[in-house]
Symmetry: C2
Subunit: 444 residues, 2 copies
């Protein structure tokens, strides 16, 4: 969408921005928690002092959205009012209370007398985050970047152009003189995203948030590591011994509480022993909630009283009031189905049997595996991470909801007194390999 | 190199192997430490009982190498004798003593009464490891795969064809009936590697070990995550206050102890205050060790007594008795040089000043940052990891030498009693977000 207002950087301007972010990232590596918290406090204060500017900018976006007759849910996400600003400030207060995620010693080992090794957390470097309409995401991501010590290049939704620009300006101004210049960049044009994908000498990690097709596109067009999830084909499996009332509550929540999100249940698996008992009631509940049901022929034949559409594809994410339903002979069949057709995001078992639940949770190869609760719980805020940059279905680095931890890497620091490898390889010295107390400052 | 002996799988056979590995990986997910250790013991015993077969196969490879007049260092790596077999068995004994890397609780949190969240380590799934001539790597990688609970597809060097085949057969036979079939696959042809790169539905992680160009090629031709390092342009920086004797010992070791490895120093940076004091002695030491020196014009002008070749490229990995040398005005300039031209592998500062060393180690953006010791120490065995699959210069997932830890991911397990998200979003329930004791079994 070109509304004639976007700033479009030339290729060389964009590369300069990325290079500036890289330079800022190197300066951010050595900031301590006090300075990062000082920046967060300045952001908090600026959001308070300059709220009127934010509302005015948001009003411009809302007016343009009305002219362009954008759909209601999009407009709702675009809205940035006093309540949403309060939530943002609360999030910043939460980050202020957290310990510094950098400089944490994760391993401490004496390799030999006076040769001590430490694995210490540190920021990743430069993040590129691409997010959708919701302009409050800009503040959340920037605040996470500050606390984690990463520089960040952001591309927000075009619908929120004015709000994003106002927020980025306010945040940059607030941190001027506290953080290194270049820590925050906002880009505004879709075509710049393609150019970003080639800048692997400057950008360490891309976090795309958006449609399945968009995330897949990013993953296929860059050598930069990508953190995110393409889709959420989540399952809820009902074992034969499930508590019927619990099942009816949890399945309705998992499917209908909010349908357009990645952790909503898209496929319901049930032990065929439940065909005549729980299923008629449960399916009636779902239909009463407006859910349209799909099933394979075998399952449909078991439940002739219901009107099922055929299932075309078991790896299908409805993001709507719709559900695939399948009868399985036992828990092993449910596990096989989920591991074959799922997206390794969130899958739940409802059962009274702890042994069965533990087996399911160990054998299902997904980022989040739940017992007796709704798949909708897999979320950084609900997990108590304070904020999240997204949910990862990658098995590398960060998996599941990604908070501050996922924005950190580590380095090995080795403190010596002149040791050389030749002494060890020629038998004059020998490694001791003894653990050191991990909560002490490096011993020298 | 086609020697007429390799098995080359068709595209569909290769896909079947990968699918079998995926299936095995799902069975490996639920194995406990006792069974994995039982498999390691069986491997240990088989290496002992069937040593003669291994030596015979190795003899075939050595004879073919002699016919083909392969270079001496390659033949040396190819050799698998009693001593190397003992080292392999020692490595397996080490793994047997280690705790299970799977099932470790890394985070435990009560989200609400009876709603408990655990972050638990688990295997990644299917690893594809591509390694060079050294056949003992096959046993090390297989043993790491067993202990970590990952299935593995391996491609060894063609020079070690007979030895690799014998080892793979012996390991498979040893673990028959203990581990799920399909946990270990050996492929033998280079063209199969290209096909592997497309099998992202089965393979979770590729670990290539080999030349710079080879690793770059792999990284550019697959959507599967790659763990490894393309190159090792390591630096040693001499601060003005360095202990001269320490510097001479450490630099000689870092450059000459073993030149063809990624953690050898390739660039020596020195504070220009050392030009008339330490440098003439140190450079003479290096020349006496056969090291040829390169420098930029400014550095060469400072040291007219020495014969420098020009430096063409500061990002240059010699892997030989050769060294780039550069004078810098201060520590900040050294840090900038390393962050600009290095490969983020291993970089050392030699100084008497702890504050200067700590600053260098925090500001240099490399996987391994050392004070007063040789860059050659960055290695999984020297770090006490027991074994390593390689050194990673990626900032995501595992960085530096990668041992068992790097072969694990985690999942979130949430234990509920029927909780639904609607209760929390509508204010009937509230999250408590209290830490739970991390060393207890999940509370239900």
């Amino acid at each position: 969408m070109d509304n004639g207002e976007r700033r479009v950087l030339t290729e060389s301007q964009l590369e300069q921005s990325a290079a500036a972010a890289k330079k800022a990232a190197q300066a951010l590596q050595i900031l301590n928690n006090d300075i990062k918290n000082q920046a967060l406090k300045a952001i908090y204060q600026a959001l308070q002092d300059r709220a009127a500017e934010i509302y005015r900018a948001n009003q411009q976006d809302l007016e343009r959205a009305a002219e362009q007759k954008l759909p209601d849910p999009l407009v709702k996400r675009l809205y940035l009012d006093r309540h949403k600003l309060d939530v943002l400030k609360e999030g910043i207060s939460g980050l202020l209370k957290m310990p510094d995620p950098a400089g944490q010693i994760k391993l401490a080992e004496q390799l030999d007398q006076d040769l001590n090794l430490y694995r210490v957390t540190c920021p990743i470097g430069v993040l590129a985050v691409i997010f959708e309409a919701r302009p409050d995401a800009l503040v959340q991501i920037a605040a996470l970047a500050v606390k984690s010590g990463n520089a960040v290049i952001m591309k927000g939704g075009t619908e929120a152009l004015a709000t994003n620009r106002a927020l980025a300006d306010i945040l940059s101004a607030a941190c001027h003189g506290i953080l290194p210049e270049g820590w925050l960049h906002l880009i505004e044009a879709r075509e710049e995203v393609d150019r970003l994908l080639a800048l692997d000498q400057y950008i360490d990690l891309i976090i795309p948030r958006g449609s399945n097709a968009f995330v897949q596109y990013i993953m296929s067009h860059t050598r930069i590591p990508v953190l995110g999830h393409a889709d959420g084909v989540c399952h809820t499996y009902l074992a034969a011994d499930v508590d019927p009332l619990l099942a009816r509550r949890v399945v309705i929540d998992a499917k209908t509480q909010y349908v357009s999100v990645c952790n909503a249940t898209e496929t319901l698996l049930f032990d065929q022993a439940l065909t005549q008992t729980l299923m008629p009631e449960l399916l009636t509940d779902l239909i009463n909630k407006g859910v349209s049901l799909s099933a394979d022929a075998a399952t449909a034949a078991l439940l002739p009283a219901f009107d099922f559409a055929p299932v075309k594809n078991w790896h299908y994410e409805y993001l709507d009031l719709a559900l695939s339903v399948k009868a399985v002979p036992d828990t092993e069949a449910a596990i096989r189905h989920i591991n074959t057709y799922g997206s390794h995001h969130t899958d739940a078992i409802l059962t009274r049997d702890q042994t069965r639940a533990e087996h399911f949770m160990q054998a299902v190869d997904s980022a989040n595996v739940f017992w007796n609760c709704s798949t909708r719980f897999s979320d950084g805020f609900r997990y108590g991470f304070g904020a999240e940059v997204g949910v990862s279905t990658s098995k590398l680095h960060a998996r599941g909801p990604v908070g501050l931890d996922g924005l950190m890497t580590y380095k090995y620091k080795l403190y010596g007194k002149g040791q050389i490898v030749a002494d060890y390889s020629e038998g004059r010295s020998h490694f001791t390999h003894q653990p050191l107390p991990p909560d002490q400052a490096p011993q020298v």
